[in-house]
């Protein structure tokens, strides 16, 4: 019995160092305090913080925070300086320009603001300056982070986009903001809200051009929305019905760059034979695949 107990104890002791699960392991991004007493940790508040797009934990400690953006800070004191269980709190001394609410902060004016790690004796053990910047642009992005200047949709098509606030250098600004989305002409495209106003789905309703507006932090960004029957220009933008009856496929590969009205065989300079019999009036590159040419 004694031998069994001793064996279990020995095995436990041997196994323990490699099996320790650090419940305090913290993967939140941190930045060393300016006085070297520990690390400040950045905590996202809400889902609309672009740093937390992939989850609740921020990807990096932000360089800049949007004016009005909500965030929280935590402080991890150095074990070598402080004993376990030391009580520290984060304070923002400037109550005029830094609003503190339910454990989160927001900076109300561009510029640096200092945050203090304060002991129960009201002594400052460390500090961190955070730079707030005005929103100068809101990037409207697809879910795979493609920046959109214009949204082109086909009738009935929809696209989900998100908003990322940026400063004048187009650097992403951290912090959770309230986004307001609207469309100037909802008869052309409509906005359907998803995910707490952060991501939205735009639905094409009828042919035409309208403007998507996203507002946050006192800034409004406009993005053109073009709805066409056939969708974006990367596909066939030929407004005519192409009913090429030619049984022989046209295999020319030249581009039609004349920009003139193609009256089927008269001014077509692509070198191929255009025999579809339809009036082709667009001046753009025609990628009709039914005749194999790229002529207009």
């Amino acid at each position: 019995m004694r031998l069994t107990l001793a064996l279990i104890t020995a095995l436990t002791a041997l196994a323990a160092p490699g099996c320790v699960i650090d419940e305090d392991a913290d993967d939140r991004p941190s930045r060393p305090g300016e006085l070297g007493a520990g690390d400040f940790l950045y905590v996202c508040v809400g889902d609309s913080d672009p740093l937390c797009a992939q989850g609740s934990v921020a990807e990096t400690f932000p360089e800049r925070i949007a004016v009005g953006g909500r965030f929280a800070l935590d402080f991890n004191p150095n074990d070598t300086i402080f004993s376990d269980g030391v009580a520290l709190r984060i304070e923002a001394p400037n109550e005029t320009l830094v609003k503190a609410e339910l454990g989160s902060f927001s900076i109300e004016e561009a510029g640096y603001q200092v945050f203090l790690a304060v002991s129960s004796e009201s002594e400052v053990v460390d500090l961190q300056h955070i730079l707030a910047a005005n929103i100068e642009r809101i990037s409207v992005r697809t879910m795979d982070s493609q920046d959109l200047d214009t949204i082109e949709l086909a009738l009935g098509e929809s696209i989900t986009v998100s908003a990322v606030p940026q400063d004048r250098l187009r650097s992403t600004l951290a912090g959770s903001l309230d986004y307001a989305w609207s469309i100037t002409d909802p008869e052309i495209a409509d906005v359907a809200t998803v995910d707490e106003d952060f991501d939205v789905t735009i639905e094409a309703v009828s042919e035409g051009v309208t403007t998507l507006i996203v507002e946050a932090g006192g800034f409004a960004q406009e993005v053109t929305v073009e709805v066409s029957v056939d969708g974006p220009a990367t596909t066939d933008t030929d407004p005519g019905t192409d009913t090429d009856p030619d049984p022989d496929p046209d295999t020319d590969s030249g581009s039609d760059t004349d920009g003139n009205t193609d009256t089927d065989g008269n001014t077509d300079t692509d070198g191929g034979t255009d025999t579809d019999g339809e009036t082709d009036t667009d001046a753009a590159t025609d990628t009709d695949t039914d005749d194999g040419s790229t002529g207009a």
């Binding site: 400037n94 320009l97 510029g111 640096y112 203090l116 009201s122 002594e123 300056h129």
Partner: protein
């Protein structure tokens, strides 16, 4: 029973002791941190932008320009917390001065509970 001479001796000693105590002359501040925005700390004058903090070390000087030998307690206070705030650091000599809003205010220097001096603190517009 003490004689009159003994009483006189005690009084003379007490007066002599008082005369030998260091007398406050000035406070010297030196920067102990590197803020992200320009901060000026020269002797007993401080200038910093709103929103910025600087850690300073405070050295008391006596009239003889020697270090303040007394073990007096030094405290610094803001005369206008809407302009700047001052916080103690662990230990007795360091303080954190934080600019709140543009303006000029006095940082009161209190030694052993006595108001001894005023350090001008100028707060400028926030640094971008």
């Amino acid at each position: 029973m003490k004689s009159a001479a003994q009483h006189f001796a005690w009084i003379a000693l007490a007066l002599g002791g008082l005369a030998c105590q260091p007398s406050y002359d000035t406070i010297s501040l030196t920067t102990q941190s590197t803020p992200p925005a320009p901060v000026t700390v020269r002797g007993n004058r401080v200038e910093l932008p709103a929103g910025t903090a600087v850690v300073v070390k405070a050295d008391l000087k006596s009239e003889t320009r020697e270090g303040y030998p007394g073990n007096g307690e030094l405290e610094l206070f803001s005369s206008d917390k809407s302009v700047f705030e001052v916080y103690p650091r662990p230990g007795d000599e360091e303080f954190v001065i934080v600019g709140i809003a543009p303006g000029v205010a006095c940082m009161d220097v209190v030694v052993d509970g006595r108001l001894e001096d005023c350090v001008d603190v100028t707060v400028t517009v926030p640094a971008l």
